[in-house]
Amino acid sequence: MTDINSFLKSDVGYKTNPDLAKVIAVISGKGGVGKTTACANLALALAMSGLKIAVIDTDIGLRNLDIILGYSDRIYHNVIDVIDGTCSLSEALIPDKDVPNLVFLPASQIHEKGALKTKGFTRVIDALKPEYNYIFLDAPAGIGQGLKNLISVTDSAIVVVNPDKSSVLGADRVIGIFENHNIQVTDMIINRYNIESANKGDLLTIHKINEILGLNLLGVVPEDSSVTAALNSGIPLVKKQNTPAGKAFINISRRFLGKNVTLLYVFRDNFWSRMMGKIGF
């Protein structure tokens, strides 16, 4: 069996044009796997390390990202208003209170997916590109109109999967759609992983998921109750570093920038089973 650390790397973070931002969509097949959590925390962690990041919620009609980032009471304008011309882009962007490098463009709650017109959306992205290093798009679940809106503007994508079959096979379908439009998807994040259940055979192991999808592993996030707690309190995980999931997201952001970081202790077999494996039991 190959070592997990051999496919712990990232191709998404590599930038081809240093002057313009790279647009990265965070996608998944199934809903509820943690796209929004991953998007918010990865963006925040990168912004904390000094990069200029813009995050756009493209889940029109069912916005979530503002709740996780804790901006719910500061939304006055949204991306549809910018496209329609009712307000300017700088009016709609919300900067973070603690991390000024991060700005957020919220989605509209009263429109439907079709309201995000390709032409206008491309104009918004193009206006943001020279000022930021990375632009993250939080994709809606499923493969409908909402996902097709993103295809024309996206440079690259990160897939978020849970260690279950329906989420992995759904992710495979979405990757296929992106590849049909010549967008290479190279990296994945495994969310809600638990090494004990995986070793028992209840969950898919990291090796099994990699065998099906054939992607680089950007990182693994453990099953952790602090994720839900952070969502409800409105303070993102990354801002309070003492949780395992928060640490996992910091590590993901460092791997994203090309550093070699090994997996957290929670994903490794314990000392005795490793020794037993080496001896040959």
């Binding site: 096979l169 495979d172 379908r173 990757i175 296929g176 759609i177 590849e179 099906i212 054939g214």
Partner: protein
Amino acid sequence: MYEEKAVTLQRIRSGLYIVLDDRIPFYNLKKLFYKKLQSMDSYIFHTNVIMNFGSREMRDSDLKEIITLGEDNFKLNLLKIITKVPELKEIAKKRGYKAEDFIEKSELEFSEDVLNEDTLWIKKSIRSGQLTEYRGNVVVLGDVNVGARIIAGGNILVMGVLRGDVWAGKDGNLGANVISSFFGPSQLRIYDTYLLKSEEILKEIKENMPAVAFLKNNTIFVKEYKEWSLRGAK
């Protein structure tokens, strides 16, 4: 009357030779071209074509329109353009296509042996929801994931893991085989027969060894590749 002869297709060594009548209006020609290709079903996908425009005079936008019509809808691969108009030849060369006055006779030859060699190479994995149709053999240098589908007129060879739906010998080729390094299709079909996953066959598949599926007496059998190749692939 003239509509039937407006677009004629001819099989040649390198693929397909399309002759477009130069007497009918361009607007009608577009429609007839699309209809004719659509009636050819899956045969037409990924074909190399040579297009003959005769002495029709065309603008740059017209040429682009009719070529993208074929490329986008039927994934045609344009090899060259035959035209008698020097202006059109220059336009085609600007767009990066070859253009000539006439087609050489040796290129028009066609025999059944050519069909046997006709192979589509796919140098990546096929993901769920992606459909590949080809009239000849299909070789995949990668995996075929669950939910992906391959339809071929000839044999199918998968170098990686085969987990998707495959249909070999679609047009009546009873000798078509499906070969894979890691054999485990969710659905397998040769001509009009499905693979029934009986206990014997599941045992054969479980080994995760290179395996071959073939048709014999209206039933599909699966054999380990080594055993099958020793008997001389009869």
